[in-house]
Assembly symmetry: D2
Homo-oligomer: 306 residues x 4
């Protein structure tokens, strides 16, 4: 395929521009490949795993993830606990502010503002989250004492009333949310406080491993869309590996492969593990997901005629 | 400003999506800021410098650059010599192929194929370029013996017949193209061969420094759109610095600032030099220009109603 | 402080070269700053948290971590589960091979070889790990049914006989190892299999959150050495934040801060959260830890006269 | 080869640590490979090209480059003009200050301080440079009117009295310095001013292309050590390509290969061009050269017994 020149036209649509990127070089063409892999993934009837890290929930991708779940584009979610916390904060009315990468961090601290890149989260939002967690955990404990993580998150999602919430849509669409390091955040601190006063309260992560393991099977076609790296990406890969490997995989990341990290590991490397099948369709796009993911998915949704 | 969630809608336009990115975090919001800076730059009547490296010409951005010149969005260009060579190759019918980052490079070599990331350029294209250069230089030499680079490129552009050519559109729109390291490529080799046989033939780079220096003035409002780094970016900055500094600046790059390179230098750093004025509008977007630049400019062009 | 030129001399020692880097720019001087922060950290009697990701254990840093524990340079460890698995594999005689980033991954897969960057791990090593895990879990279960992660790892370390093992040295020196996502690896799969056959076997991650929370206190001086990112880094930061924040912090990473990820988050950003105190000593070094960490620690150990 | 664990010992030497890195993974082992390639390069009697960008001269590598020239480790240099300027500034007593990446750039500007990453250069240093340039150019013009760049730099080097100066050592050892974009800096501005008043003064870059072209031959064994990217790296590659390609190549860079830039281009990609021979020894190390280069060269010099 030859390189073709990009041409703008008045009122150009996203799918038209992404289509054109498919005839350019470097990450432009990789982005179009990623979109094509996701289209095939969906058309094949694959079970689709979407993984992302908490910072993407802080950014405006949160409601977009919720929309994708609602539209039936996602079957299983794996994320880090910060993403859960911030989805809940947003759903109870808290707002995050767009700030600056070069802020005066000591000044922010004094104002009770926490920085995530160029975004700000107020201490108040954590306080509101605490107010929500306590009664929520109490209700769960009244049901039973031992909770696998995904079952806990599913119950919580049922009580959220926000169309744009990941937890809400996931519960509604019966999409399990896995979070292998559930204690690694404010959520974990509240679990700890609750356990102090409520004997026998246990979060059963081993049982939840069984849940993600049986979220698919050897026979099922499997697809993965991994945004960023971390244990979210690794956990989905692991679950699929134990079920014979992934058929369609798309990685969007800013990390590089030269230090051997999971975040930077490519779809190519995954083939050596059998995580991704030899003959699978796979694409890796280097770039910030706040840009690449909306582009890719807008193309996919328009092409699928959803 | 609060973070808002991204929402897809059927047939979403590029300017609608970029508008939404303006309420997200990380590079999404920086991309929207960059678009806004360019809109202000244009509305202010600034002289606009566009700089890019040769790999971007290899990719499908070449015709897009030509289109932007044609639409009056660019007043001065600075680039590396590979970009000149490849614009000429394309304009005489040569094509570049979309390949793979993980190609077998020894095999490619044996086939006479040269790799630039995931793009391929054939040896033949260099041969065709050579065929074009010889008579072209001869004609120039008949006019005069001493040539500043931008004047040479302007003459060459006049002889190209291709709407999608950067050199063609630049000549037509009277947009000078500066190329401070004109010998650093096949072009340089042909200059050398020509000089062997044609006494007194000189490429006067010092005179061309005067040309870029007088391409603007202290009084003029100045804007810079720098894609990638290298001497292209630095040369435009230098010319503007000597004319009092830049009023509007947008940097799109994949390089990081932590090693002190020009490619990774931010608009913030440029302020210490007076390259960019203290109170200027400036934005830096980290990402591959094959993705970020078409997005930004499509938004800009649609918003400007061009 | 002025830049001084680096000078080589015959048989130059690591601490002499690092000393010289302290008078250079870019990451050289940041590396020296990081070494100085660790020296202050140690001299202040701080509780020292060392966090790393599993790929660093795959590389030859494993025995170096063990040595640092042995030398009393580390008080608490946080890592990902792959690091535990690979430490155990190595301690039972398995070996990892140095390979190539550009390997043929499908061929590797067919040979039962898994790639981590330019390193290879054989399937056999996972089989040997499995053989080790089963009896080990059985012995634990005989002691009690509910296990916080760090207590489990401490018991396991007692049974390892390898001076170069992280688990062995940690048990011996009474250094707790936290691993907030213990199920995210082969280890998790074996926990799951064991739970199938052994009723009431639970890994209590919430209880282990209490353990890391009480691993220090408000009054204690705290230091953090975070290698790479991921939940390891975040978990240590969180535990220290809940105890009033860190006094001395060193981050070594290859990730960049522009996408808002935890891996790329700087010590500067951490100040907005109160994770790192306003007036703390902190340094961030961008570079591969297989290079930067041995350099830094060799300087530190030599300067401390350990 | 198996991964071996790194072990610190009291007073460990640089060559001992680099030796150990050769048995680790990721960039550690690549660094050791790079050192081995340079040793072979030197032992083979190759003509050695060293390329670097100006920011590396700003950092403390300047005197180290001078030392390497003095020790006979370099035969040809290619750099950017900022590197020339700053070598001269340092040689006439100017000093650069170690600052901070997060400086207040507007404040720096007001103080007449220019930032390069975490380094500062005062406006005064540029004024002193100007004072040096004027008489220097005058003397050259008295000799002849038309100057190829490398001949000009060679003459200038003869007038410098500083053991630590790159230009001084290069002149003394008869090592040519090529600088394909000589006008891209304050140097260029002074060339322009001089040309205004001195008719017929020309810098002949085409003639200098001949000089670098004939700096080697098809028959000669050729080696390249490229620090960072930019035209410096490209120009050396081009000259060697036209002489049959490079036999030994080492790239040290922070740029990534995913955007098709010259800075990020790997030694692997270079093989497709014939820039590096198929069977050549080559290594690419990702990392900041202020750290990687002194490590590598200290090992090389100690092993060569220089």
């Amino acid at each position: 395929m030859y390189v073709k020149d990009i041409k703008w036209k008045k009122g150009i649509k996203v799918n038209e521009l992404v289509e054109q990127m498919g005839s350019t070089g470097f990450q432009g063409v990789e982005l179009k490949k990623a979109a094509d892999v996701i289209i095939k993934m969906k058309k094949s009837g694959a079970k689709i795993y979407l993984t992302f890290t908490s910072n993407m929930v802080t950014s405006g991708l949160r409601g977009f993830f919720a929309q994708l779940i609602k539209l039936g584009m996602v079957d299983v979610i794996v994320t880090t606990v910060g993403g859960i916390e911030e989805d809940i904060m947003r759903s109870i009315g808290e707002k995050f502010t767009i700030g600056d990468f070069y802020s005066d961090d000591v000044e922010l601290y004094e104002k009770g503002v926490n920085r995530v890149g160029n975004l700000f989260i107020k201490n108040e939002s954590y306080a509101k989250f605490e107010d929500w967690m306590r009664p929520s955990l109490k209700k769960l404990y009244e049901q039973k004492k031992i909770w696998p993580v995904s079952e806990m998150l599913n119950e919580m999602g049922k009580t959220i009333e926000d169309e744009n919430s990941i937890l809400y849509q996931a519960s509604k669409q019966n999409v399990p949310i896995f979070c292998p390091a559930i204690t690694d955040g404010a959520f974990g601190f509240h679990l700890y406080l609750f356990q102090q006063d409520n004997e026998g309260f246990v979060v059963d992560v081993v049982k939840d491993f069984a849940n993600i393991l049986f979220s698919t099977s050897q026979d099922e076609t499997k697809g993965l869309i991994a945004l960023g790296g971390s244990i979210s990406k690794h956990h989905a890969l692991l679950a699929c590996l134990l079920n014979g490997g992934i058929d369609y995989a798309v990685y969007l990341t800013t990390a590089r492969s030269t230090s051997g990290s999971m975040s930077g590991a490519t779809t190519k490397e995954a083939k050596s593990w059998g995580k991704i099948k030899d003959d699978s369709d796979a694409a890796t796009v280097i770039g910030d997901v706040t840009i690449t993911f909306p582009l890719i998915m807008s193309y996919v949704l328009d092409e699928l005629g959803i």
